[in-house]
Protein backbone atom coordinates (compact mmCIF):
# COMPACT_ATOMS: atom_id res chain seq x y z
CA UNK A 1 0.00 0.00 0.00
CA UNK A 2 1.12 3.46 0.76
CA UNK A 3 4.82 3.18 1.30
CA UNK A 4 6.72 5.89 3.14
CA UNK A 5 7.67 8.30 0.43
CA UNK A 6 10.99 10.04 0.36
CA UNK A 7 10.64 13.78 0.07
CA UNK A 8 10.70 15.41 -3.33
CA UNK A 9 9.14 18.77 -4.07
CA UNK A 10 7.16 17.21 -6.93
CA UNK A 11 5.47 14.78 -4.58
CA UNK A 12 4.75 17.54 -2.14
CA UNK A 13 3.21 19.70 -4.85
CA UNK A 14 1.12 16.74 -6.00
CA UNK A 15 -0.27 16.22 -2.51
CA UNK A 16 -0.97 19.94 -2.15
CA UNK A 17 -2.89 19.84 -5.43
CA UNK A 18 -4.97 16.98 -4.04
CA UNK A 19 -5.68 18.98 -0.90
CA UNK A 20 -6.75 21.95 -3.01
CA UNK A 21 -8.89 19.68 -5.20
CA UNK A 22 -10.62 18.19 -2.15
CA UNK A 23 -11.39 21.64 -0.76
CA UNK A 24 -12.72 22.75 -4.14
CA UNK A 25 -14.95 19.67 -4.31
CA UNK A 26 -16.40 20.46 -0.90
CA UNK A 27 -16.93 24.16 -1.65
CA UNK A 28 -18.31 23.25 -5.08
CA UNK A 29 -20.90 20.92 -3.58
CA UNK A 30 -21.77 23.52 -0.98
CA UNK A 31 -22.31 26.17 -3.62
CA UNK A 32 -24.21 23.75 -5.81
CA UNK A 33 -26.88 23.52 -3.15
CA UNK A 34 -27.79 27.23 -3.35
CA UNK A 35 -29.52 28.63 -6.43
CA UNK A 36 -27.48 31.83 -6.58
CA UNK A 37 -24.07 30.16 -6.38
CA UNK A 38 -24.77 26.85 -8.08
CA UNK A 39 -23.10 27.59 -11.38
CA UNK A 40 -19.96 28.90 -9.74
CA UNK A 41 -19.92 25.81 -7.53
CA UNK A 42 -19.88 23.56 -10.55
CA UNK A 43 -16.95 25.49 -12.00
CA UNK A 44 -15.03 25.36 -8.73
CA UNK A 45 -15.39 21.60 -8.60
CA UNK A 46 -14.32 21.39 -12.25
CA UNK A 47 -11.24 23.49 -11.50
CA UNK A 48 -10.34 21.16 -8.64
CA UNK A 49 -10.68 18.21 -10.97
CA UNK A 50 -8.53 19.81 -13.64
CA UNK A 51 -5.79 20.54 -11.11
CA UNK A 52 -5.86 17.00 -9.74
CA UNK A 53 -5.64 15.49 -13.24
CA UNK A 54 -2.87 17.81 -14.41
CA UNK A 55 -0.66 17.36 -11.36
CA UNK A 56 -1.19 13.59 -11.38
CA UNK A 57 0.13 13.41 -14.93
CA UNK A 58 3.04 15.71 -14.14
CA UNK A 59 4.18 14.55 -10.75
CA UNK A 60 2.76 11.17 -9.82
CA UNK A 61 5.34 8.53 -9.02
CA UNK A 62 5.12 4.86 -8.30
CA UNK A 63 8.21 3.28 -6.84
CA UNK A 64 10.23 6.19 -8.14
CA UNK A 65 8.84 5.87 -11.65
CA UNK A 66 7.02 8.90 -13.11
CA UNK A 67 3.86 8.52 -15.19
CA UNK A 68 4.66 6.96 -18.58
CA UNK A 69 2.68 6.68 -21.81
CA UNK A 70 1.89 10.35 -21.46
CA UNK A 71 1.10 10.77 -25.15
CA UNK A 72 -1.47 8.00 -25.00
CA UNK A 73 -2.95 9.42 -21.82
CA UNK A 74 -3.34 12.80 -23.46
CA UNK A 75 -4.91 11.18 -26.54
CA UNK A 76 -7.40 9.32 -24.32
CA UNK A 77 -8.17 12.53 -22.40
CA UNK A 78 -8.73 14.37 -25.68
CA UNK A 79 -11.04 11.69 -27.07
CA UNK A 80 -13.04 11.50 -23.83
CA UNK A 81 -13.26 15.27 -23.53
CA UNK A 82 -14.43 15.71 -27.07
CA UNK A 83 -17.12 13.03 -26.91
CA UNK A 84 -18.25 14.13 -23.45
CA UNK A 85 -18.37 17.78 -24.42
CA UNK A 86 -20.08 17.14 -27.75
CA UNK A 87 -22.71 14.84 -26.27
CA UNK A 88 -23.40 17.33 -23.48
CA UNK A 89 -23.98 20.34 -25.68
CA UNK A 90 -26.07 18.37 -28.17
CA UNK A 91 -28.38 16.62 -25.72
CA UNK A 92 -31.87 18.03 -25.43
CA UNK A 93 -32.90 19.30 -22.03
CA UNK A 94 -35.67 16.70 -21.91
CA UNK A 95 -33.12 13.91 -22.34
CA UNK A 96 -30.90 15.22 -19.54
CA UNK A 97 -31.64 12.43 -17.05
CA UNK A 98 -30.55 9.79 -19.58
CA UNK A 99 -27.33 11.67 -20.19
CA UNK A 100 -26.51 11.88 -16.50
CA UNK A 101 -27.17 8.15 -16.25
CA UNK A 102 -24.74 7.38 -19.08
CA UNK A 103 -21.98 9.53 -17.62
CA UNK A 104 -22.50 7.90 -14.27
CA UNK A 105 -22.18 4.48 -15.90
CA UNK A 106 -18.91 5.53 -17.51
CA UNK A 107 -17.48 6.44 -14.11
CA UNK A 108 -18.58 3.08 -12.72
CA UNK A 109 -17.03 1.23 -15.64
CA UNK A 110 -13.80 3.18 -15.16
CA UNK A 111 -13.62 2.16 -11.50
CA UNK A 112 -14.35 -1.48 -12.39
CA UNK A 113 -11.63 -1.51 -15.07
CA UNK A 114 -9.08 -0.15 -12.62
CA UNK A 115 -9.86 -2.99 -10.23
CA UNK A 116 -9.71 -5.53 -13.04
CA UNK A 117 -6.20 -4.36 -13.87
CA UNK A 118 -4.96 -4.06 -10.31
CA UNK A 119 -6.16 -7.45 -9.13
CA UNK A 120 -3.75 -9.58 -11.25
CA UNK A 121 -0.86 -7.32 -10.22
CA UNK A 122 -1.71 -7.70 -6.55
CA UNK A 123 -2.22 -11.45 -6.86
CA UNK A 124 1.10 -11.97 -8.63
CA UNK A 125 2.89 -9.94 -6.00
CA UNK A 126 1.29 -11.75 -3.07
CA UNK A 127 1.94 -15.12 -4.74
CA UNK A 128 5.59 -14.22 -5.12
CA UNK A 129 5.74 -13.27 -1.45
CA UNK A 130 4.07 -16.53 -0.53
CA UNK A 131 1.20 -14.92 1.37
CA UNK A 132 -1.60 -17.38 2.15
CA UNK A 133 -4.63 -15.23 1.28
CA UNK A 134 -5.65 -11.90 -0.24
CA UNK A 135 -7.30 -10.58 2.88
CA UNK A 136 -6.19 -7.00 3.41
CA UNK A 137 -7.03 -3.42 2.64
CA UNK A 138 -5.82 -3.71 -0.91
CA UNK A 139 -7.82 -6.82 -1.73
CA UNK A 140 -10.98 -5.46 -0.12
CA UNK A 141 -10.67 -2.14 -1.95
CA UNK A 142 -10.09 -3.83 -5.31
CA UNK A 143 -13.00 -6.22 -4.99
CA UNK A 144 -15.44 -3.66 -3.62
CA UNK A 145 -14.40 -1.20 -6.34
CA UNK A 146 -15.03 -3.84 -8.98
CA UNK A 147 -18.34 -4.93 -7.52
CA UNK A 148 -19.80 -1.48 -6.90
CA UNK A 149 -18.41 -0.04 -10.13
CA UNK A 150 -19.75 -2.96 -12.14
CA UNK A 151 -23.21 -2.75 -10.58
CA UNK A 152 -23.26 0.99 -11.14
CA UNK A 153 -22.24 0.64 -14.79
CA UNK A 154 -24.74 -2.08 -15.70
CA UNK A 155 -27.50 -0.46 -13.63
CA UNK A 156 -26.95 2.94 -15.21
CA UNK A 157 -27.15 1.48 -18.69
CA UNK A 158 -30.48 -0.17 -17.85
CA UNK A 159 -31.72 3.07 -16.27
CA UNK A 160 -30.72 4.90 -19.44
CA UNK A 161 -32.58 2.35 -21.56
CA UNK A 162 -35.70 2.72 -19.45
CA UNK A 163 -35.73 6.52 -19.49
CA UNK A 164 -35.15 6.47 -23.20
CA UNK A 165 -38.05 4.07 -23.64
CA UNK A 166 -35.83 1.33 -25.08
CA UNK A 167 -36.32 -1.07 -22.20
CA UNK A 168 -39.65 -1.87 -20.59
CA UNK A 169 -40.24 -2.85 -17.00
CA UNK A 170 -40.05 -6.48 -16.04
CA UNK A 171 -41.93 -6.84 -12.81
CA UNK A 172 -42.08 -10.55 -12.27
CA UNK A 173 -42.04 -11.35 -8.53
CA UNK A 174 -39.47 -14.09 -9.23
CA UNK A 175 -37.04 -11.34 -10.19
CA UNK A 176 -36.99 -10.17 -6.60
CA UNK A 177 -35.76 -13.57 -5.46
CA UNK A 178 -33.25 -13.77 -8.30
CA UNK A 179 -32.10 -10.34 -7.26
CA UNK A 180 -31.57 -11.20 -3.65
CA UNK A 181 -29.85 -14.47 -4.56
CA UNK A 182 -27.41 -12.64 -6.79
CA UNK A 183 -26.59 -10.15 -4.07
CA UNK A 184 -25.85 -12.97 -1.64
CA UNK A 185 -23.77 -14.81 -4.26
CA UNK A 186 -21.78 -11.64 -4.93
CA UNK A 187 -21.03 -11.05 -1.26
CA UNK A 188 -20.09 -14.69 -0.66
CA UNK A 189 -17.86 -14.65 -3.76
CA UNK A 190 -16.17 -11.54 -2.42
CA UNK A 191 -15.16 -13.34 0.76
CA UNK A 192 -14.20 -16.53 -1.08
CA UNK A 193 -11.81 -14.60 -3.32
CA UNK A 194 -10.34 -12.75 -0.34
CA UNK A 195 -9.57 -16.02 1.42
CA UNK A 196 -8.23 -17.72 -1.71
CA UNK A 197 -4.58 -18.50 -1.93
CA UNK A 198 -3.01 -16.15 -4.46
CA UNK A 199 -1.75 -18.02 -7.51
CA UNK A 200 0.04 -15.98 -10.16
CA UNK A 201 -2.04 -15.73 -13.33
CA UNK A 202 -5.17 -17.25 -11.79
CA UNK A 203 -7.55 -14.56 -12.98
CA UNK A 204 -10.66 -16.55 -13.78
CA UNK A 205 -12.33 -15.93 -10.37
CA UNK A 206 -12.03 -12.17 -10.73
CA UNK A 207 -13.50 -12.24 -14.24
CA UNK A 208 -16.43 -14.33 -13.05
CA UNK A 209 -16.87 -11.93 -10.15
CA UNK A 210 -16.97 -9.00 -12.58
CA UNK A 211 -19.57 -10.74 -14.73
CA UNK A 212 -21.70 -11.49 -11.67
CA UNK A 213 -21.54 -7.82 -10.66
CA UNK A 214 -22.71 -6.76 -14.11
CA UNK A 215 -25.60 -9.22 -14.02
CA UNK A 216 -26.62 -8.01 -10.58
CA UNK A 217 -26.59 -4.43 -11.87
CA UNK A 218 -29.10 -5.46 -14.54
CA UNK A 219 -31.39 -7.45 -12.27
CA UNK A 220 -31.22 -4.73 -9.62
CA UNK A 221 -32.65 -2.02 -11.88
CA UNK A 222 -34.82 -4.16 -14.16
CA UNK A 223 -37.87 -4.53 -11.87
CA UNK A 224 -37.89 -0.88 -10.77
CA UNK A 225 -40.55 1.19 -12.51
CA UNK A 226 -39.52 3.75 -15.09
CA UNK A 227 -41.03 6.53 -12.99
CA UNK A 228 -38.56 5.76 -10.24
CA UNK A 229 -35.48 5.98 -12.43
CA UNK A 230 -34.37 9.37 -11.05
CA UNK A 231 -34.10 7.85 -7.59
CA UNK A 232 -32.21 4.90 -9.03
CA UNK A 233 -29.80 7.13 -10.93
CA UNK A 234 -29.16 9.14 -7.81
CA UNK A 235 -28.50 5.94 -5.88
CA UNK A 236 -26.18 4.56 -8.56
CA UNK A 237 -24.46 7.95 -8.56
CA UNK A 238 -23.58 7.52 -4.92
CA UNK A 239 -22.47 3.92 -5.68
CA UNK A 240 -20.01 5.19 -8.25
CA UNK A 241 -18.77 7.66 -5.66
CA UNK A 242 -17.99 4.80 -3.30
CA UNK A 243 -16.32 2.84 -6.12
CA UNK A 244 -14.10 5.85 -6.85
CA UNK A 245 -13.25 6.09 -3.16
CA UNK A 246 -12.16 2.45 -3.21
CA UNK A 247 -9.65 3.43 -5.88
CA UNK A 248 -8.50 6.21 -3.58
CA UNK A 249 -8.04 3.72 -0.76
CA UNK A 250 -6.07 1.44 -3.06
CA UNK A 251 -3.66 4.12 -4.22
CA UNK A 252 -3.60 6.07 -0.97
CA UNK A 253 -4.91 8.92 -3.08
CA UNK A 254 -6.65 11.58 -0.98
CA UNK A 255 -8.36 13.40 -3.85
CA UNK A 256 -10.07 10.21 -5.00
CA UNK A 257 -10.91 9.29 -1.46
CA UNK A 258 -12.54 12.58 -0.44
CA UNK A 259 -14.19 13.15 -3.83
CA UNK A 260 -15.61 9.65 -3.91
CA UNK A 261 -16.85 9.55 -0.33
CA UNK A 262 -18.35 13.06 -0.58
CA UNK A 263 -20.41 11.94 -3.56
CA UNK A 264 -21.20 8.66 -1.88
CA UNK A 265 -22.64 10.26 1.23
CA UNK A 266 -24.22 13.36 -0.32
CA UNK A 267 -25.64 11.16 -3.09
CA UNK A 268 -27.26 8.90 -0.53
CA UNK A 269 -28.82 11.88 1.25
CA UNK A 270 -29.99 13.30 -2.07
CA UNK A 271 -31.58 9.95 -2.92
CA UNK A 272 -33.42 9.97 0.38
CA UNK A 273 -34.54 13.59 -0.15
CA UNK A 274 -35.91 12.61 -3.56
CA UNK A 275 -37.83 9.72 -2.05
CA UNK A 276 -39.19 12.09 0.57
CA UNK A 277 -40.43 14.44 -2.13
CA UNK A 278 -42.53 11.53 -3.37
CA UNK A 279 -43.40 10.52 0.17
CA UNK A 280 -41.93 7.07 -0.26
CA UNK A 281 -39.15 5.17 1.38
CA UNK A 282 -36.04 4.06 -0.46
CA UNK A 283 -36.85 0.44 0.34
CA UNK A 284 -40.26 0.91 -1.22
CA UNK A 285 -38.67 2.19 -4.43
CA UNK A 286 -36.09 -0.58 -4.65
CA UNK A 287 -38.37 -3.44 -3.83
CA UNK A 288 -40.86 -1.85 -6.17
CA UNK A 289 -44.34 -1.68 -4.71
CA UNK A 290 -45.08 0.67 -7.60
CA UNK A 291 -47.12 -0.85 -10.37
CA UNK A 292 -47.70 -4.11 -8.58
CA UNK A 293 -50.67 -2.71 -6.70
CA UNK A 294 -51.45 -0.43 -9.63
CA UNK A 295 -54.13 -2.72 -10.99
CA UNK A 296 -56.23 -2.18 -7.87
CA UNK A 297 -57.58 1.26 -8.72
CA UNK A 298 -60.22 0.31 -11.27
CA UNK A 299 -63.00 2.63 -10.14
CA UNK A 300 -62.50 4.89 -13.10
CA UNK A 301 -64.66 2.79 -15.41
CA UNK A 302 -68.08 3.86 -16.66
CA UNK A 303 -67.53 7.45 -15.71
CA UNK A 304 -67.93 10.18 -18.23
CA UNK A 305 -65.44 12.74 -19.31
CA UNK A 306 -66.43 16.25 -20.28
CA UNK A 307 -64.61 17.94 -23.12
CA UNK A 308 -64.12 21.64 -23.60
CA UNK A 309 -63.90 23.30 -27.00
CA UNK A 310 -60.99 25.53 -27.91
CA UNK A 311 -63.12 28.65 -28.06
CA UNK A 312 -64.70 27.96 -24.68
CA UNK A 313 -61.28 27.39 -23.21
CA UNK A 314 -60.00 30.61 -24.75
CA UNK A 315 -62.89 32.61 -23.29
CA UNK A 316 -62.62 30.97 -19.90
CA UNK A 317 -58.90 31.71 -19.68
CA UNK A 318 -59.15 35.27 -20.98
CA UNK A 319 -61.74 36.29 -18.43
CA UNK A 320 -60.10 34.68 -15.44
CA UNK A 321 -58.33 36.56 -12.70
CA UNK A 322 -55.83 33.99 -11.70
CA UNK A 323 -54.56 30.91 -13.50
CA UNK A 324 -52.18 28.18 -12.50
CA UNK A 325 -50.44 26.06 -15.09
CA UNK A 326 -49.40 22.60 -13.94
CA UNK A 327 -46.73 21.41 -16.37
CA UNK A 328 -45.67 17.78 -16.69
CA UNK A 329 -43.34 15.71 -18.75
CA UNK A 330 -45.87 15.61 -21.60
CA UNK A 331 -45.31 19.32 -22.07
CA UNK A 332 -41.59 18.79 -22.30
CA UNK A 333 -41.82 15.86 -24.68
CA UNK A 334 -44.01 17.88 -27.03
CA UNK A 335 -41.37 20.66 -26.80
CA UNK A 336 -44.24 22.97 -25.94
CA UNK A 337 -42.60 24.91 -23.11
CA UNK A 338 -42.00 27.92 -25.39
CA UNK A 339 -45.62 27.97 -26.53
CA UNK A 340 -46.69 27.65 -22.96
CA UNK A 341 -44.69 30.75 -22.14
CA UNK A 342 -46.32 32.52 -25.08
CA UNK A 343 -49.72 31.62 -23.70
CA UNK A 344 -48.85 32.96 -20.29
CA UNK A 345 -47.50 36.20 -21.78
CA UNK A 346 -50.61 36.63 -23.84
CA UNK A 347 -52.86 36.12 -20.84
CA UNK A 348 -50.72 38.34 -18.66
CA UNK A 349 -51.22 41.03 -21.31
CA UNK A 350 -54.94 40.72 -20.72
CA UNK A 351 -54.44 41.28 -17.01
CA UNK A 352 -54.66 37.66 -15.98
CA UNK A 353 -52.31 36.51 -13.27
CA UNK A 354 -50.54 33.40 -14.53
CA UNK A 355 -48.26 31.23 -12.46
CA UNK A 356 -46.78 27.76 -12.72
CA UNK A 357 -47.30 25.19 -10.01
CA UNK A 358 -44.24 22.96 -9.96
CA UNK A 359 -44.47 19.58 -8.34
CA UNK A 360 -41.11 18.52 -6.90
CA UNK A 361 -41.00 15.45 -9.10
CA UNK A 362 -42.58 16.93 -12.22
CA UNK A 363 -40.69 15.85 -15.30
CA UNK A 364 -38.39 12.91 -15.10
CA UNK A 365 -36.22 14.12 -12.25
CA UNK A 366 -36.75 16.41 -9.28
CA UNK A 367 -36.13 19.95 -10.47
CA UNK A 368 -36.22 18.83 -14.10
CA UNK A 369 -39.31 20.92 -14.88
CA UNK A 370 -37.69 24.09 -13.53
CA UNK A 371 -34.79 23.55 -15.90
CA UNK A 372 -37.12 23.00 -18.84
CA UNK A 373 -39.21 26.09 -18.13
CA UNK A 374 -36.12 28.14 -17.51
CA UNK A 375 -34.99 27.09 -20.97
CA UNK A 376 -38.16 28.70 -22.33
CA UNK A 377 -37.38 31.95 -20.46
CA UNK A 378 -40.25 31.64 -18.00
CA UNK A 379 -39.27 34.05 -15.21
CA UNK A 380 -38.19 32.56 -11.92
CA UNK A 381 -40.90 34.37 -9.91
CA UNK A 382 -43.64 32.62 -11.86
CA UNK A 383 -42.51 29.17 -10.80
CA UNK A 384 -44.27 28.38 -7.55
CA UNK A 385 -43.43 25.36 -5.46
CA UNK A 386 -46.16 22.88 -4.76
CA UNK A 387 -46.96 23.82 -1.17
CA UNK A 388 -47.25 27.55 -1.88
CA UNK A 389 -49.30 26.84 -4.98
CA UNK A 390 -51.67 24.62 -3.04
CA UNK A 391 -52.29 27.43 -0.55
CA UNK A 392 -53.41 29.66 -3.39
CA UNK A 393 -55.60 27.10 -5.18
CA UNK A 394 -58.73 28.26 -3.37
CA UNK A 395 -58.75 31.64 -5.11
CA UNK A 396 -57.57 30.33 -8.47
CA UNK A 397 -60.05 30.44 -11.33
CA UNK A 398 -58.54 27.90 -13.67
CA UNK A 399 -55.88 25.25 -13.34
CA UNK A 400 -54.49 24.10 -16.67
CA UNK A 401 -52.82 20.73 -16.46
CA UNK A 402 -50.50 20.25 -19.42
CA UNK A 403 -49.04 16.81 -19.91
CA UNK A 404 -49.03 16.04 -16.20
CA UNK A 405 -50.95 13.21 -14.66
CA UNK A 406 -49.73 11.49 -11.50
CA UNK A 407 -48.79 14.75 -9.76
CA UNK A 408 -52.43 15.88 -9.83
CA UNK A 409 -54.01 12.49 -9.17
CA UNK A 410 -56.42 12.82 -6.22
CA UNK A 411 -56.00 9.09 -5.56
CA UNK A 412 -52.82 10.06 -3.73
CA UNK A 413 -55.04 11.69 -1.11
CA UNK A 414 -58.18 9.61 -0.93
CA UNK A 415 -57.47 6.09 -2.17
CA UNK A 416 -55.35 4.08 0.27
CA UNK A 417 -55.17 1.21 -2.24
CA UNK A 418 -53.45 3.40 -4.80
CA UNK A 419 -49.69 2.89 -5.21
CA UNK A 420 -49.15 6.63 -5.01
CA UNK A 421 -51.28 7.04 -1.87
CA UNK A 422 -49.57 9.52 0.42
CA UNK A 423 -47.59 11.27 -2.28
CA UNK A 424 -48.13 15.03 -2.00
CA UNK A 425 -50.01 16.35 -5.05
CA UNK A 426 -50.99 19.66 -6.54
CA UNK A 427 -54.58 20.11 -5.43
CA UNK A 428 -56.01 21.14 -8.75
CA UNK A 429 -59.55 20.38 -7.58
CA UNK A 430 -59.41 23.19 -5.02
CA UNK A 431 -59.56 25.65 -7.91
CA UNK A 432 -62.83 26.70 -9.51
CA UNK A 433 -62.16 25.08 -12.89
CA UNK A 434 -59.70 22.53 -14.20
CA UNK A 435 -58.66 22.01 -17.79
CA UNK A 436 -56.57 18.97 -18.55
CA UNK A 437 -54.64 18.97 -21.82
CA UNK A 438 -53.85 15.44 -22.76
CA UNK A 439 -53.28 13.36 -25.84
CA UNK A 440 -55.66 10.58 -24.89
CA UNK A 441 -57.24 8.98 -21.86
CA UNK A 442 -54.21 6.77 -21.31
CA UNK A 443 -52.88 6.50 -17.77
CA UNK A 444 -49.70 8.32 -16.80
CA UNK A 445 -46.11 7.14 -16.65
CA UNK A 446 -46.77 5.20 -13.49
CA UNK A 447 -49.83 3.59 -15.14
CA UNK A 448 -52.28 4.62 -12.42
CA UNK A 449 -55.82 5.67 -13.34
CA UNK A 450 -56.65 9.29 -12.54
CA UNK A 451 -60.08 10.24 -11.20
CA UNK A 452 -59.41 13.92 -11.72
CA UNK A 453 -60.33 13.46 -15.37
CA UNK A 454 -63.86 12.38 -14.45
CA UNK A 455 -64.47 15.05 -11.85
CA UNK A 456 -67.34 17.47 -12.63
CA UNK A 457 -65.00 20.46 -12.25
CA UNK A 458 -62.70 19.16 -14.92
CA UNK A 459 -62.92 19.44 -18.67
CA UNK A 460 -60.56 17.79 -21.12
CA UNK A 461 -58.82 19.41 -24.06
CA UNK A 462 -57.59 16.49 -26.13
CA UNK A 463 -54.67 16.66 -28.51
CA UNK A 464 -50.92 17.00 -28.70
CA UNK A 465 -49.77 19.61 -26.20
CA UNK A 466 -47.93 21.66 -28.79
CA UNK A 467 -50.68 21.66 -31.43
CA UNK A 468 -53.37 22.38 -28.86
CA UNK A 469 -51.43 25.23 -27.31
CA UNK A 470 -50.81 26.70 -30.74
CA UNK A 471 -54.52 26.66 -31.51
CA UNK A 472 -55.37 28.00 -28.09
CA UNK A 473 -52.94 30.90 -28.46
CA UNK A 474 -54.41 31.71 -31.89
CA UNK A 475 -57.91 31.49 -30.48
CA UNK A 476 -57.14 33.87 -27.61
CA UNK A 477 -55.47 36.32 -29.99
CA UNK A 478 -58.57 36.42 -32.15
CA UNK A 479 -60.91 37.14 -29.25
Amino acid sequence: METIQTFTSELSILEISYLVASVLFILGLKKLSHPATARAGNLWAAAGMAAAILFTILFHQKEGQPIGNIIWIVVALAIGSFIGWYASIKVKMTAMPQMVSIFNGMGGACAALISLMEFPKMQNMLAAEGVGNMLGGEGIAILLGLMIGGVSFAGSMIAFGKLDGRIGDIKHPVLRIVNLTFLVVLLVALFVILFMEPVAGNNLPIYLFAIAALIYGVTFVMPIGGADMPVVISLLNSFTGVAAAMGGFLYGNQAMLTGGILVGSSGTILTILMCKAMNRSLMNVIIGAFGVAGAAGTEAEDKTVKEISLSDAAVLLSYSQKIYIVPGYGLAVAQAQHLCHELDNLLAGKGVEVKYAIHPVAGRMPGHMNVLLAEADVPYEKLVEMEDANNEMGNTDVVIVIGANDVVNPAAEDDPSSPIYGMPIIKALDAKNVIVMKRSMAAGYAAIPNNLFYHPKNRMLFGDAKATLQKLVAEIKSL
Binding site: M96, A111, G137, Y251, I261, L270
Partner: protein
Protein backbone atom coordinates in the same frame (compact mmCIF):
# COMPACT_ATOMS: atom_id res chain seq x y z
CA UNK B 1 -10.50 -9.33 16.51
CA UNK B 2 -6.82 -8.54 16.59
CA UNK B 3 -6.85 -8.62 12.78
CA UNK B 4 -9.54 -5.94 12.71
CA UNK B 5 -7.64 -3.77 15.16
CA UNK B 6 -4.47 -4.19 13.13
CA UNK B 7 -6.38 -3.26 10.01
CA UNK B 8 -7.65 -0.10 11.68
CA UNK B 9 -4.22 0.95 12.82
CA UNK B 10 -2.68 0.28 9.42
CA UNK B 11 -5.25 2.37 7.57
CA UNK B 12 -6.17 4.82 10.31
CA UNK B 13 -5.52 7.94 8.21
CA UNK B 14 -7.79 6.82 5.43
CA UNK B 15 -10.46 5.56 7.80
CA UNK B 16 -10.46 9.00 9.41
CA UNK B 17 -10.79 10.74 6.06
CA UNK B 18 -13.60 8.42 5.01
CA UNK B 19 -15.53 8.87 8.24
CA UNK B 20 -15.21 12.64 8.30
CA UNK B 21 -16.05 12.91 4.59
CA UNK B 22 -19.25 10.97 5.13
CA UNK B 23 -20.46 13.51 7.66
CA UNK B 24 -19.22 16.38 5.55
CA UNK B 25 -21.09 15.11 2.49
CA UNK B 26 -24.31 14.86 4.47
CA UNK B 27 -23.88 18.28 6.06
CA UNK B 28 -22.92 20.10 2.88
CA UNK B 29 -26.05 19.29 0.90
CA UNK B 30 -28.67 18.75 3.56
CA UNK B 31 -30.51 22.04 2.91
CA UNK B 32 -30.71 21.85 -0.86
CA UNK B 33 -34.02 23.03 -2.35
CA UNK B 34 -35.87 20.55 -4.59
CA UNK B 35 -35.27 22.82 -7.58
CA UNK B 36 -31.59 22.02 -7.43
CA UNK B 37 -31.86 18.24 -7.02
CA UNK B 38 -31.15 17.50 -10.65
CA UNK B 39 -28.19 19.87 -11.11
CA UNK B 40 -26.75 18.75 -7.78
CA UNK B 41 -27.00 15.12 -8.77
CA UNK B 42 -25.38 15.92 -12.09
CA UNK B 43 -22.64 17.97 -10.44
CA UNK B 44 -21.78 15.29 -7.90
CA UNK B 45 -21.89 12.82 -10.77
CA UNK B 46 -19.06 14.80 -12.35
CA UNK B 47 -17.10 14.88 -9.09
CA UNK B 48 -16.93 11.10 -8.78
CA UNK B 49 -15.25 11.24 -12.16
CA UNK B 50 -12.19 11.80 -9.98
CA UNK B 51 -11.80 8.06 -10.47
CA UNK B 52 -10.01 9.10 -13.66
CA UNK B 53 -6.92 9.76 -11.54
CA UNK B 54 -6.80 6.05 -10.81
CA UNK B 55 -7.11 5.32 -14.51
CA UNK B 56 -4.23 7.69 -15.29
CA UNK B 57 -2.09 6.03 -12.62
CA UNK B 58 -2.82 2.55 -14.00
CA UNK B 59 -2.16 3.63 -17.55
CA UNK B 60 0.95 5.58 -16.61
CA UNK B 61 2.49 2.50 -15.07
CA UNK B 62 1.10 -0.07 -17.51
CA UNK B 63 3.54 -2.89 -18.16
CA UNK B 64 1.76 -4.90 -20.85
CA UNK B 65 -0.04 -3.94 -24.03
CA UNK B 66 -3.27 -5.35 -22.64
CA UNK B 67 -3.15 -3.17 -19.54
CA UNK B 68 -2.21 -0.20 -21.72
CA UNK B 69 -5.31 -0.79 -23.86
CA UNK B 70 -7.57 -1.32 -20.84
CA UNK B 71 -6.07 1.76 -19.20
CA UNK B 72 -6.66 3.73 -22.38
CA UNK B 73 -10.33 2.75 -22.31
CA UNK B 74 -10.56 3.53 -18.61
CA UNK B 75 -9.11 7.01 -19.13
CA UNK B 76 -11.60 7.69 -21.95
CA UNK B 77 -14.52 6.51 -19.80
CA UNK B 78 -13.35 8.57 -16.83
CA UNK B 79 -12.93 11.68 -18.97
CA UNK B 80 -16.42 11.21 -20.38
CA UNK B 81 -17.69 11.16 -16.82
CA UNK B 82 -15.77 14.28 -15.81
CA UNK B 83 -16.19 16.47 -18.87
CA UNK B 84 -19.71 15.35 -19.72
CA UNK B 85 -20.79 15.71 -16.11
CA UNK B 86 -19.50 19.24 -15.65
CA UNK B 87 -20.69 20.49 -19.05
CA UNK B 88 -24.19 19.08 -18.62
CA UNK B 89 -24.44 20.60 -15.16
CA UNK B 90 -23.26 23.94 -16.45
CA UNK B 91 -25.85 23.86 -19.22
CA UNK B 92 -28.61 23.19 -16.71
CA UNK B 93 -27.46 25.94 -14.38
CA UNK B 94 -26.94 28.41 -17.18
CA UNK B 95 -30.71 28.37 -17.61
CA UNK B 96 -31.30 29.16 -13.99
CA UNK B 97 -29.08 32.15 -14.35
CA UNK B 98 -30.77 33.47 -17.46
CA UNK B 99 -34.14 33.80 -15.85
CA UNK B 100 -32.78 35.91 -13.01
CA UNK B 101 -32.37 38.90 -15.28
Amino acid sequence: MEEVLKFFLEYKDMIFIITLSVFLGIEVISHVPAVLHTPLMSGSNAIHGVVIIGAIIVMGHAESTLSLILGFIAVILGTLNVVGGFVVTDRMLEMFKKKKK
